[in-house]
Symmetry: C2
């Protein structure tokens, strides 16, 4: 099966050398988040994920979760439940939650490497605590004090887990179509009735309660997405005093059979007049939902990153071990029966693509987590506002790019194994199947693209883009005189100017025709992602050069950056051409003529 | 589950309107391959694949093949064996084989739509007859008369099936490393000993004999690939008189557990002094093997095409049915609760990408099959030679592009389903898993790229490319004055010139450094594939305009061609830039520094 070693060295490099997290944590008032503490968390996280979670990954895929129709219960794969108990005992559940609610109070950016490790070690298992994280955010920002006391504290302690119950058979993206009803009850609660599908961790055997956050409609709610409210619906009822009560009328009706993440319980959940408690204001459920959703989108981006990294580690190992053919330029290892395949340029193309997307993507993803910390803890209102605009802009890019790159990297990694990659025992095909969900859930790639182009560019007049362009400009200016960085600074500056111009072009067209937003969205998102990664690669080279890392490390960063600029950044040319061609070629064909 | 309708209308359009197959078949002496006959074959093939094979696809995936270690036998999924009997009864097995050996004598290009239908309907099942096709080619071109009589006739009749036994644990691409031994026996046979892996259809319950074509080394063979010979090793021994004898010492040792094509038996085959008969000359096995391999590569390309088409059909249906959100430019179906998702530009992007790659890819693939017929039956030696050069040039392009596009199309199609695409019951995830093997077996994409760049460009001085460029030039010249085609002719001509120049650039570099061949190969192959597809799309528009097809059909071809030129052809920009950047960024990083 595939192996996993937490990439601690690169995680630290990104966090401390590239992003300067240590000073930032101090400035934001995270007095406990010293370098020593964060290092210890990383070490311990590596131990837990490598030795506890990773070994359960293959078995979890083979066994999957099972459902008992008689009782509506779900049994998780062997070892999953015990691993969760260790996770809770280790204090991981509340790592980045507020101290006053029982958490450890570390910054989000310090928790993000742990998240990446969990996903790489065992994505299916990682989905159970992931959903708690979304529920935590919603309860933290929108829950009443008694709700935080009764529901949030047990989640932060890891005693219970949370879910997000949004999707219904007739509505996924389009939540305005949802039908689940909430009837007010004399005791101030609501009776929730309806069916939700695709509910990750909707039922399991880890904990004795599960806190569902459920979107539903009040009786007098306006139609569409303006009439949606959010409710807390626990599996077992909980009094305002926190006392456990009777079993609530919510039940898992089935498990989905999926392409991958077999160890995750993806549930159909039936609510039959279940007791629910309104969170936040009536009909304002969508805003509360987005609090969960934005967190979840960044988290899913990290899933793509984690899987890509694990795939890449195994592809590299295999490419060094597998002997096949001689280098075209002559034998490199004449004493062996053939050269290891890492000598072949096309295998190197696949390996370097993975390395460039994984390590560059790590900077992109961790930076977003730092922005979450600044938004939450920045002392200066202007700084918080700027970070918020940038975070909003980057969230769809992180989600879509890291997951699509995760699919791409697991693809290349499997391909490096040749036919052996298709065989289950090597574990590469599981990574590819597991990665495939990440571009779908928490908003498909197309939805991320619309969010970026529609909300973050058009509706916000590109506020976040301006902040990012300024970061690029600051970096280019600061390094304008550096001969060592000139090969990156010049093309980066040119791309930034092109990015700005391209954004203007689309904006002008979209004013005339709203469909131009949708027509440009996908290519604009990836264009943006590749330019953003060029920035992070240039910064990574600068950070490596300025660091105390060994020469081999610095050389690897520089050569990978060169590869990125030479062979991946040109993908922007295709995206730019597609954008500039406009919406006409997408819109002209009548729907009934597609199969004429 | 996913549905399948054979795309007869487009198959006929490509074969007869675009490629002018009717006149060509007549010219090549296929007097039976009239339009009426071929039409009847297509109709009957559609009926067989839609009603017999397609319904077995989902069950074949769920059940898979099973292996009994006690007997070494393999049981195929329910219905597979009976479907094979119907296939044989219908006369399909020998459709394109010579009449004198019991076949129907139809041209390869007339069999190719049937092949596409089989793969689309049930890829896993299709792998059983596929391997017979490769064995047929090898026996036809290299077998002695008694071998053709004893082994080939039963294969053509469908009574037995064939295999290709090449791969061993230590050698896949690098056949020079193979260890299987062949010891001469007094009766003129050889005793074959060794282990082969990844043997498709190596054991099954369809027929009472299986004819393995096995690569092995004679005792005095030179080292490496110059010392490989090809042997016929039947599961049950067969005398020179064709009489069935005792069970041979070849046995299936295990089945592989794979990502997909669960209904195909992928076998470990153990040869333990099995009786084998040399085919062709000693130590010339690689040449005979390539006879099988080239056929198999075109066939695997069609597998990618078939899966892409089935995926696309289902994505289109779903995009018309699924109601979600309103068009950004205003509701298109105000009477429905939401618009069908086909109104959204990004969904159209995914659908049109599939349509452009499937229909364009069909012309690319069918054209290659016509070249096989010209090579085999052309009256003029110069014509045969030119067709052979072009076929050699196009074979790696057809194999790599149609399979990678198959992966891409099944990806987009699944994505069109959103989260539902990840759920097994919709059948989209099976298509994606099944497609994933096609870029691996019969030579990975990287190997196709090396074959193109190394053999077909460098070693052959671009003979095949020159023929293709002349075809483009002829088309552009013939249509230079056509206002209706100007939008395609001009960019096509420019791309062809660029293609030629790019080839020269790589060639010059490669003379100085052999690794430049490998460094450019992948991007050159896809660059070539996209330009080739531009040519077929331009020709498709011209052919549609000149045909009697309805206006809606002509419009769909034109709009799809416009989409292709505007949004897919620009991928050549990224490939060109990658090629022009040279091998430096791939080769500079030391192998031990990839994880420094």
């Amino acid at each position: 099966m595939s192996s996993y070693r937490a990439p601690l060295s690169d995680m630290r490099f990104v966090l401390f050398d590239v992003l300067g997290a240590e000073a930032l944590f101090a400035r934001l008032g995270f007095t406990d988040a010293t370098r020593d503490i964060v290092d210890a968390v990383l070490e311990e996280g590596a131990r837990f994920t490598e030795t506890v979670l990773a070994p359960l990954n293959r078995g979890g895929d083979a066994t999957g979760c099972s459902y008992d129709p008689a009782t509506g219960t779900v049994t998780t794969p062997p070892g999953f439940k015990e691993a969760y108990a260790q996770y809770v005992d280790g204090g991981w559940a509340g790592l980045v939650s507020p101290v006053e609610l029982g958490g450890q109070g570390l910054p989000q950016a310090a928790g993000v490497p742990l998240k990446e490790m969990i996903d790489a070690a065992n994505l299916a298992w990682g989905n159970f605590p992931l959903l708690s994280h979304g529920a935590t955010e919603a309860l933290l920002h929108h829950g009443a004090p008694w709700q935080q006391e009764a529901f949030l504290k047990p989640i932060i302690a890891g005693r219970w887990t949370g879910t997000m119950c949004l999707t219904e058979p007739q509505c996924g993206t389009d939540l305005g179509l949802l039908k689940t009803r909430a009837e007010p009850q004399p005791d101030g609660s609501h009776a929730i009735t309806g069916t939700k599908i695709f509910i990750t961790a909707g039922e399991h055997d880890f904990t004795d309660n599960i806190v569902h956050l459920v979107l539903a409609r009040l009786p007098d709610a306006p139609a569409g997405s303006k009439g949606i409210s959010l409710f807390i619906v626990p599996k077992t009822k909980v009094g305002r005093d926190g006392a456990m009560g009777a079993r609530n009328a919510v039940r898992c009706g089935a498990l989905e059979h999926k392409m991958g993440i077999h160890g995750s319980a993806t549930c159909v959940m039936n609510f039959d007049g279940a007791q629910g408690w309104l969170i936040g204001a009536p009909n304002k459920g969508l805003a509360a939902m987005f609090t969960m959703m934005n967190t979840a989108r960044l988290a899913v981006g990290l899933q793509g990153l984690g899987l890509a990294d694990r795939a890449w580690q195994n592809a590299l190992r295999y490419a060094r071990e597998r002997l096949q053919m001689r280098a075209l330029s002559g034998a490199k290892f004449p004493d062996k029966p053939a050269d290891p395949i890492i000598v072949h340029p096309d295998v190197r193309r696949m390996l370097l693509t993975q390395k460039a997307l994984v390590e560059g993507g790590r900077a992109l993803g961790y930076h977003a987590a730092l922005l979450v910390d600044i938004v939450g803890h920045g002392a200066d209102a202007a700084e918080r506002e700027q970070a918020d605009a940038l975070l909003g802009f980057l969230t769809p890019i992180v989600k879509a790019c890291l997951t699509e790159w995760g699919v791409e990297c697991t693809y290349h990694a499997l391909q490096c194994f040749g036919g052996h990659g298709y065989i289950a025992e090597h574990g590469m095909e599981q990574l590819a199947r597991d990665a495939r969900i990440t571009t779908l859930y928490e908003g498909t790639t197309g939805i991320q693209a619309l969010d970026l182009m529609g909300r973050k560019i058009m509706q916000s007049q590109g506020a976040g883009l301006r902040v990012f362009l300024q970061m690029i400009e600051d970096f280019c200016r600061a390094n304008a005189g550096s001969p060592a960085l000139a090969e990156f600074v010049e093309p980066l500056r040119a791309k930034a100017a092109e990015w700005q111009a391209l954004t203007m072009t689309i904006g002008q067209r979209a004013v005339a025709d709203a469909d131009e937003v949708g027509a440009a969205a996908y290519d604009y998102l990836f264009y943006s992602g590749y330019v953003a990664l060029a920035y992070w690669w240039a910064r990574s080279v600068a950070a490596a050069d300025a660091s105390a890392h060994p020469e081999a490390f610095k050389d690897a960063k520089r050569q990978t950056a060169r590869f990125y600029f030479a062979r991946l950044l040109p993908r922007t040319l295709a995206h730019k051409a597609a954008i500039e061609s406009g919406g006409g070629s997408l819109l002209a064909l009548e729907a009934d003529r597609f199969d004429a």
